[in-house]
């Protein structure tokens, strides 16, 4: 698969935004002088991490399908590792966990790689769903049985099944869009992450009323409305890289943003329950892989199926 020419313009635009962000971050740090504000330090750490993430995605795009599948398989692995770390599993879950890491994850991405739609959409929700409790039952430990196995199943769905729908976008055949499917990934990632960043910006600037104080102290109505509205506008403005017209692109972006927001909320709920602030410390300033991926996780499968239902033959 060749890299569509539009992606170079997109990456140019992203680099320009990051340059601007880095400049603002440097100015803020310079103005703060010798008494660095933790919020500014965190902002600059985040911007630096964004450079790395954009570089990795660009690199994956250059390698085409193989690169993208591999990148998201690795992201799934890191996410799954964070998720299972917080699971209250017992020794009796060792085989189930091994299956999840060493069989389910590679096989799911292999199915995505060979574009076997009929199997990669049911492999985890049907086959693994049924197989995991069987494996756990064979070990014979019944303490908190359902709770333990449900956590493992959830982790697999969230970290592998949902995330694998990002590279699965490459297998959609949309008339008149052949060879451009990488741009669907670019659209999804730009809108989801744009929405996250814009919600953060609007929230920091105008945020007052909390949406869900018991789940997340940093999510505000002002941030939500401002972020989703502006990211929807961003999605509409990107219609030229998609098979959609501007109105359809806006509608897609709106759904993606909402799901991304609720995804973040759900994942916050899990973190609160486990008593942690971040999923991990893999990405400087952002937290763990799951802290960065939570909104993509909820948006990806829905975006995949909406596009497949309405735009493929």
């Amino acid at each position: 698969m060749n890299v569509p020419p539009e992606s170079f313009m997109l990456f140019g635009g992203v680099v320009a935004v990051l340059l601007l962000a880095s400049l603002i971050g440097a100015l803020l740090a310079w103005r703060a002088g010798n008494s660095p504000d933790p919020a500014i330090q965190n902002l600059n750490a985040r911007i630096k991490a964004w450079w790395v993430m954009v570089f990795l995605i660009a690199l994956a795009f250059l390698f085409g399908k193989g690169g993208v599948v591999l990148l998201f398989a690795f992201a799934s692995f890191a996410a799954l590792r964070e998720f299972m770390t917080l699971a209250d599993t017992r020794r009796g879950d060792h085989w189930a966990l091994a299956t999840v890491f060493f069989v389910s994850l590679p096989l799911q991405y292999y199915l995505v790689w060979i574009e076997w739609y009929g199997l990669y959409t049911v492999f985890i929700p049907v086959y693994c769903f049924l197989l995991l409790p069987i494996i756990a039952a064979l070990r014979g430990d019944t303490t908190r049985f359902l709770e333990r196995i449900a956590f493992v199943q959830w982790g697999l769905m969230i970290c592998v099944f949902c995330v694998s729908h990002v590279p699965a976008l490459l297998s959609l055949s949309i008339p008149g869009f052949e060879g451009h499917n990488l741009l669907l990934i670019a659209f999804l990632v730009l809108v989801v992450q744009g929405s996250d960043v814009l919600q953060y910006v609007f929230g920091k600037l105008f945020g007052r009323r909390k949406v869900a104080p018991s789940l997340s102290p940093s999510k505000t109505w002002e941030g939500l409305v401002g972020g989703v509205a502006s990211a929807t506008a961003l999605g509409a403005a990107l219609w030229w890289i998609t098979p959609f017209n501007p109105l359809q692109a806006a509608a897609m972006a709106f759904v993606i943003c909402l799901l991304g927001f609720f995804g973040g909320l759900v994942m916050s709920g899990i973190k609160r329950d486990r008593g942690v602030k971040d999923w991990g410390r893999m990405i400087e300033g952002h937290g763990g892989m799951l802290d960065r991926l939570d909104s993509v996780i909820f948006a990806a499968p829905i975006f995949f199926h909406m596009t497949r239902y309405w735009f493929t033959l």
């Binding site: 692995f77 890191a78 799954l80 590792r81 964070e82 299972m84 770390t85 917080l86 209250d88 599993t89 020794r91 060792h94 966990l97 091994a98 890491f101 060493f102 996250d196 960043v197 919600q199 953060y200 929230g203 997340s216 102290p217 940093s218 999510k219 941030g223 973040g264 916050s268 973190k271 609160r272 329950d273 486990r274 008593g275 942690v276 602030k277 971040d278 991990g280 410390r281 893999m282 952002h286 937290g287 802290d291």
Partner: protein
């Protein structure tokens, strides 16, 4: 020559594998990674324990640090012995010594006299119970008594028992942490029991609280 190249190659591989599986990070909470002679004493849940400590120690600290390992596991002929001796430079002790063989504490004291830092598991055996930490055996006390000037650093290894439980064949990738606490020393006149209790509490205090958290954290990242 070839053995040395092989050993350094294996050392790199072990480090990369340990990071890939556990994403291990060091948390120097109570002291700095300084080049001073120390006894690191840690909880013991898996054969992977000292590998993790060894992985997070910076190379110049690693070069002077020897893990104390059970000869019955690590000194069996074959690749395990090569890794134990050449890669980790482990101090092999016999956990059930014959009257004729050198006593483990004497071996440790001798290695410390030579200037090595040591990694020690005072529980004596891998902990497979639901208790976070088993009672300490006396070795740490005897070592501290013989070498009272040494810094004793408690090191909590978090989560490794879940990565590779006793009796399992392969590790599960889960995040692990290595937390270094504040060094302690044997006080003059301190009794064995009191000292071991103090050391054990210092180690337990490093254990992160996890799960069922009402004390949920403050700020989430968008």
């Amino acid at each position: 020559m070839i053995a040395r190249i092989l050993a350094s190659l294996l050392a790199t591989m072990v480090g990369v594998m340990a990071r890939l599986v556990t994403g291990v990070r060091a948390d120097w909470r109570g002291c700095l990674p300084e080049l001073r002679q120390r006894i690191y004493f840690a909880n013991h849940g898996s054969h992977g324990d000292f590998v993790l400590i060894w992985t997070v120690l910076l190379p110049h600290l690693r070069a002077v640090t020897r893990p104390v390992a059970g000869a019955d596991y690590w000194d069996r002929p074959g690749p395990r012995r090569f890794i134990g001796r050449k890669v980790f430079n482990a101090l092999m002790i016999d956990r059930h010594p014959l009257p004729s063989s050198p006593h483990p504490v004497e071996q440790m004291v001798e290695a410390a006299r030579e200037g090595s830092s040591l990694i020690l598991f005072p529980e004596g055996t891998r902990n497979t119970t639901d208790e976070p930490l088993l009672p300490f055996r006396g070795g740490l006390y005897h070592l501290a008594k013989a070498m009272p000037q040494l810094e004793l650093v408690p090191v909590w290894i978090d989560n490794i028992a879940r990565v590779m439980p006793k009796g399992e064949m392969f590790p599960i990738p889960l995040l692990c942490g290595v937390i270094f606490g504040e060094p302690l020393r044997l006080e003059t006149g301190e009794q064995k029991g009191a000292f071991l209790d103090r050391a054990r509490s210092a180690l337990l205090a490093l254990r992160p609280r996890r799960g069922q958290g009402e004390d949920a954290a403050t700020e989430a990242h968008p």
